[in-house]
């Protein structure tokens, strides 16, 4: 079952009179349960593609479908609704709300979705336990290490039971050990829950975890292969 489908998508940015084509006619389908890496050098369009899939942005032309629904022409609030129930995000810079505790950060999507208090509590503690952060629930981000913050971010992304989690350079600000720890958690959760993971990275240590690798260069998909075909990262 497809979770996301991108058809001939272009995205151009205008800065003054200068127009930059971030994506040029990209077409891609993401199936349920995938653990897919978008790879490529800086400026290849990985983040832009992730933002379009995540309904954070709209294409200049082309269509984006999430769970079969065309999201290419939704307004800002409609896209927020789509994200809230369907898509989770993990950012490079952890992106936790600094005035909220780990518990409250994970709880935020559930609050926005109107879950009852008891239900929220159970789900949040379960998620924090799954990322080994249950004992740090009452700590604020400035009291957590980078790796701990990213684990909380993964838990928050999973909170609304999304069908799709998008991670933009999730290990870029982590050391090797923490980076691997976060990737292990994401891999495990992908297998346990069946949630689709798509992450953008140019870190070879992270790419090895992916079962599918989509390579972008200059805004185009230049390669789309299963990881088993990769001689260096065979699974």
């Amino acid at each position: 079952m497809e979770v996301a489908r991108i058809e001939n998508v272009y995205r151009a940015y205008k800065t003054g009179t200068l127009e930059t084509q971030a994506l040029r006619g990209v077409s891609l389908t993401i199936a349920s349960g995938e653990f897919t890496a978008l790879v490529g050098p800086s400026g290849s369009g990985k983040t832009t593609l992730l933002q379009l899939i995540g309904c954070l942005d709209l294409p200049t032309s082309g269509e984006v479908f999430i769970n079969g629904q065309d999201v290419s022409h939704l307004n800002r609030d409609q896209r927020a609704d789509m994200r809230r129930g369907t898509i989770g995000f993990v950012f490079q810079f952890f992106a936790l709300i600094p005035t909220l505790t780990a518990y409250e950060n994970v709880e935020m999507p559930l609050l926005l979705n109107g879950h009852a208090s008891a239900e929220r509590r159970e789900r949040v503690m379960h998620l924090l336990a799954s990322v080994a952060m249950a004992d740090r629930a009452n700590h604020r981000p400035d009291q957590l290490s980078g790796g701990e913050q990213q684990r909380v971010a993964v838990a928050r992304a999973l909170a609304p039971e999304p069908t799709l989690i998008l991670a933009d350079e999730p290990t870029a600000n982590l050391d090797t050990s923490n980076g691997e720890q976060v990737m292990e958690i994401m891999t495990r959760l992908n297998k346990e829950t069946g949630v689709t993971f798509v992450f953008a990275t140019h870190d070879p240590r992270v790419i090895k975890y992916a079962r599918r690798v989509v390579t972008l260069r200059d805004g185009k998909v230049v390669e789309d292969r299963l990881a088993a075909e990769d001689a260096h990262g065979a699974r």
Partner: protein, 405 residues
């Protein structure tokens, strides 16, 4: 809602100093307005109170043809047998005191100076004349049978260089249009701390005033004080006097009341200006907050928070700043007003034509003023926070996420 308020409170705590000074700006604006409002209320209250105590009373009963501007002493313009009329009025339950008074115009002369005066013939024993009795600075108060004594105000005494016991010549108009002159002794010098009144008003016993003006058993007015000013209209309705005119204190002091109404309407604009200036601090604070938290707004949007909820979050912060500012303002303003309620502002002989104002104003802060100023401060502060909140709610998530932390 609770979560929003919790987040708003914590967000304000990120920069406690900035939040405190922002709230303080609102608070100082409110405190200033409380002081202004209480001063206006005190000033106008003092003017009304002075006018009632010293000039108009709550009611005056006069002959139908009497014209205060002409100070007529013709018998047909005066009240005959005023003691009986006063006694009848005093028998009404809401009436505290009713006393006859005779008004005349004249001038007081010494060897070198003279001054125009307004002559009040009063019953020295009446409670209505307590303000003058209490205000005696030197000498003695009048007695009903005093044939040669007058009381003058301190400003008049200063102007003519007089003291208690000095002799002066008093010339007054009479009922047949003549001028009667007689030598009098300054029995005493009084002060009501109202320069506009004290400088021109002298007192004689009523019987002496009637004699010198040839008004005989007549008076210009029956001066009435009530136990409660709200009973004025009821007493007017109860008084059945077809040959007499009854004037209420609102009619006799319409200049003061109109001045107060005008002052209140101008002050309303002034209040908004002051609060608007305070509100600019809030606008600046919140714009800075939106700018500093642009990426965070993008994150909230990414996890599915809609624009109106982001708007609500920033408005919640403005509301908390407003509440904090109001609390500070009420404390600060309350302390300042309490001080000037006790010790007053000394303004000296600040006179306005037609309005008596004491030389010291005691502030009076009413509950109505406090509530309306508080609500005004809250609304203005909230409106000030609206623009930054709308700006935050309209940020595109992808643009916000690109912002520098």
């Amino acid at each position: 809602m609770i979560q929003l308020l919790k987040m708003a409170f914590r967000n304000l705590g990120r920069n406690r100093r900035r939040s405190f000074f922002s709230a303080l700006a609102v608070g100082m604006g409110l405190a200033l307005l409380m002081l202004f409002a209480s001063f206006i209320e005190g000033e106008m209250g003092s003017a009304i109170d002075s006018a009632i105590r010293l000039q108009s009373g709550h009611l005056q009963v006069r002959a139908q043809s009497y014209d205060e501007g002409k100070t007529s002493l013709k018998w047909e313009d005066l009240i005959e047998d005023p003691d009986q009329v006063a006694a009848q009025i005093a028998s009404l339950a809401p009436v505290r005191v009713a006393t006859p008074r005779l008004f005349a115009s004249g001038f007081v002369s010494t060897r070198n100076e003279s001054a125009g005066v307004r002559v009040y013939g009063i019953d020295p024993l009446s409670e209505a004349n307590d303000p003058y009795r209490i205000g005696m600075l030197s000498g003695e108060f009048l007695t009903p049978d005093d044939r040669e004594g007058i009381l003058i105000g301190q400003p008049l005494a200063d102007k003519l260089g007089l003291k208690a016991g000095d002799r002066v010549s008093l010339s007054v108009n009479t009922s047949n249009g003549d001028v009667q002159e007689q030598a009098f002794s300054i029995r005493g010098i009084y002060s009501t701390w109202t320069g506009g009144f004290d400088g021109v008003t002298i007192f004689l016993p009523l019987t002496k005033a009637q004699a010198i003006t040839q008004a005989e058993n007549h008076a210009s007015t029956i001066f009435v004080l009530l136990k409660d000013a709200s009973q004025t209209e009821a007493v007017v309705a109860a008084l059945n006097a077809p040959r007499l005119q009854i004037l209420t204190w609102t009619e006799m002091n319409d200049v003061i009341i109109q001045t107060e109404d005008m002052a209140n309407s101008y002050m309303g604009v002034f209040y908004l200006i002051v609060l608007g200036i305070s509100a600019t601090v809030i606008i600046n604070t919140q714009i800075m907050s939106v700018f500093e938290r642009t990426r965070e707004i993008g994150i909230l949007s990414a996890v599915g928070m809609k624009g109106r909820r982001i708007l609500a979050m920033f408005l919640a912060e403005s509301s908390l700043l407003a509440v904090g500012g109001i609390v500070l303002g009420l404390i600060l303003g309350g302390l300042v007003v309490a001080y000037f309620t006790r010790y007053g502002f000394y303004i000296g002989n600040f006179g306005m034509t037609g309005i008596l104002i004491m030389d010291r104003i005691y502030t009076q802060l009413t509950l109505q003023d406090t509530v309306s100023l508080t609500m005004m401060a809250f609304i203005v502060t909230l409106l000030a926070g609206l623009y930054p909140a709308v700006a935050a709610s309209r940020l595109e998530p992808v643009e916000a996420l690109r912002a520098e932390k």
